[in-house]
Symmetry: C2
Subunit: 325 residues, 2 copies
């Protein structure tokens, strides 16, 4: 297929074209990479922007139910919603988050929704690039909101927050002790904390937990990209579909303020810069992953282990070999 | 000076030659690097090995006093002792650990002791290479024991443990709560935990703290490189010079067992392999630090921030530029 024709169909909002393009950016084949680059360059001219919402939360917090309820509410408001996932662990488990679309049965049937499971991939760097490119495709395809879900393993929260306009932390009602289970670094990334399951017997606990997190957020240093009162903690019930509209209102208040004060553009520029630097570094280090380089590394490594060559001398030789190749 | 003559003087145990050689390996100048490589290759032929003891502990735990008392005891046993430091923070603070030799007044006057403050250097990778080379110089110079001190900032414990035969953790007497202040990863690196200040009013607390850590160590998974009963927790008093001989006895038991069972050689080979891989990676990334590469990174980065080029496209262009240079 012609890349320009695929591009036009994406700009036209065709979901099958979008799905096909995401498969293309997920491919590691060199010719696919070249086509993907051509496609993305073609589409970037459209200049479309979605609201990119990063979402993290530990297993069992009700993330799928939240995405389904929140997504359905947005669709009810006439918006188009795409859902992507960053899951560096999916190779190990053999499955993938969002793999089971039945977890979001209603949303997956909506024509204004697009759900894409995370690809099986062990290397977080690769996952990051593919997800960023999938986001760009969703934006070109005219989605108003792109939700990027992460399981919160290792560095995945940082990865997702570096590609989001807003970062939400979904938490469960819990005793005060467990508050400390959320790492300070993750708290500092959050634009909003949503305490889910504020329904039935758990409602009082959820309210208390929310107050605890609100207190913890107030102790963090004020960030220039936040208006008064943010970051914010709120209770929601994904099951009872309660509080989701209020949370969305707050997200819009925050987004509008950031747009009006230049933080939206500044943030996107800084993120692009961040990913540029990351990609240069990982592309440089990828030169050590070719079959020839692996062979040379093993050859020199064996001499180092045997004490025939110092680590530094071997590294110098290896670099010279690499550059000569 | 001729490198071979400097080498001979080091092999002869001359301290001024050793100090001069360490200054050479600390230099970043290309001609100095070449001379350092020649010197190290020359000296490695001697095949001398010291017992390399890594030592970490938080500020205030009495590390300097411990090194002084422990070092003096070793010298009393007829051994030669070198003390080096890994301090990635020394640039920021302007000073350096071990900078003030008066903290080890007695040891610094001994002819069988050699104390070298850590060089001012911000980049931990550079500190690591320089320290490894300084260790190699001390070994060639015939020191029986090389103590490598670290302040325990960031990754410095990992760095030191990856260049040590034994890793000691020096801790202060404390309440049970503070036990958790020692990260699990650090505990897992330790071959021995020494609870210092087991003297005067603090003695009962030190004994209790030691029992707590001994219990914590028993909960860790058994490592193949440990005989029965290790890793071990003991109390010492650097001020009263108490328990140091017992600690040294245990270190020798552990070292002998590891030598007899092949773990000493295996460990040194694995460490050499580790540093080889680290050096290749950092040498590769160093290609981004040349003035020309920095200029190119800024040029492409500006286009990325302005939205004229995608991060991936810019990274591809940057790599091509780098390889063409």
């Amino acid at each position: 297929m012609e890349i320009s024709s695929l591009g036009d169909r994406i700009l036209n909002g065709e979901r099958r074209a979008l799905a096909r393009a995401i498969t293309l950016v997920e491919s590691g084949r060199a010719d696919h990479r070249a086509q993907a680059a051509e496609l993305l360059a073609h589409l970037s001219g459209a200049g479309r922007q979605s609201l990119r919402i990063g979402l993290s939360g530990t297993p069992g917090v009700g993330k799928s139910t939240f995405i389904e309820s929140f997504g359905m509410m947005l669709i009810g408001l006439g918006l188009r919603v795409a859902v992507l996932a960053v899951d560096p662990s999916s190779t190990r488990s053999g499955g993938s988050i969002l793999g089971d679309k039945t977890r979001m049965e209603r949303l997956s049937r909506e024509k204004n929704a697009f759900i894409r499971p995370s690809p099986s991939q062990s290397h977080l760097g690769g996952v990051a690039r593919r997800t960023r490119e999938a986001i760009a495709l969703c934006e070109a395809s005219g989605f108003d909101v792109v939700l990027i879900e992460t399981v919160g393993v290792g560095q995945s929260e940082t990865v997702v927050s570096e590609m989001s306009d807003l970062f939400l932390l979904l938490l469960a009602p819990a005793g005060g002790d467990e508050l400390q289970g959320v790492k300070r670094g993750i708290m500092e990334m959050a634009d909003m904390i949503l305490v889910n399951k504020a329904d039935g017997d758990l409602k009082p606990t959820a309210t208390r937990t929310c107050a605890d997190y609100a207190g913890a957020l107030r102790l963090l240093r004020k960030r220039p990209q936040d208006p008064e009162g943010f970051p914010k903690a709120m209770t929601v019930s994904a099951v009872e579909e309660h509080g989701l509209d209020k949370a969305w209102d707050e997200m819009q208040v925050l987004t509008k303020w950031r747009r009006d004060n230049g933080h939206w553009d500044t943030n996107r520029a800084a993120q692009a810069q961040y990913w540029f630097e990351q990609e240069v570094r990982s592309a440089l280090l990828a030169r050590l992953s070719t079959p020839q380089a692996r062979f040379d590394m093993e050859r020199f490594g064996a001499q180092v282990s045997a004490g025939q060559l110092s680590p530094s001398a071997a590294a110098t030789d290896m670099l010279a070999t690499l550059i000569a190749e």
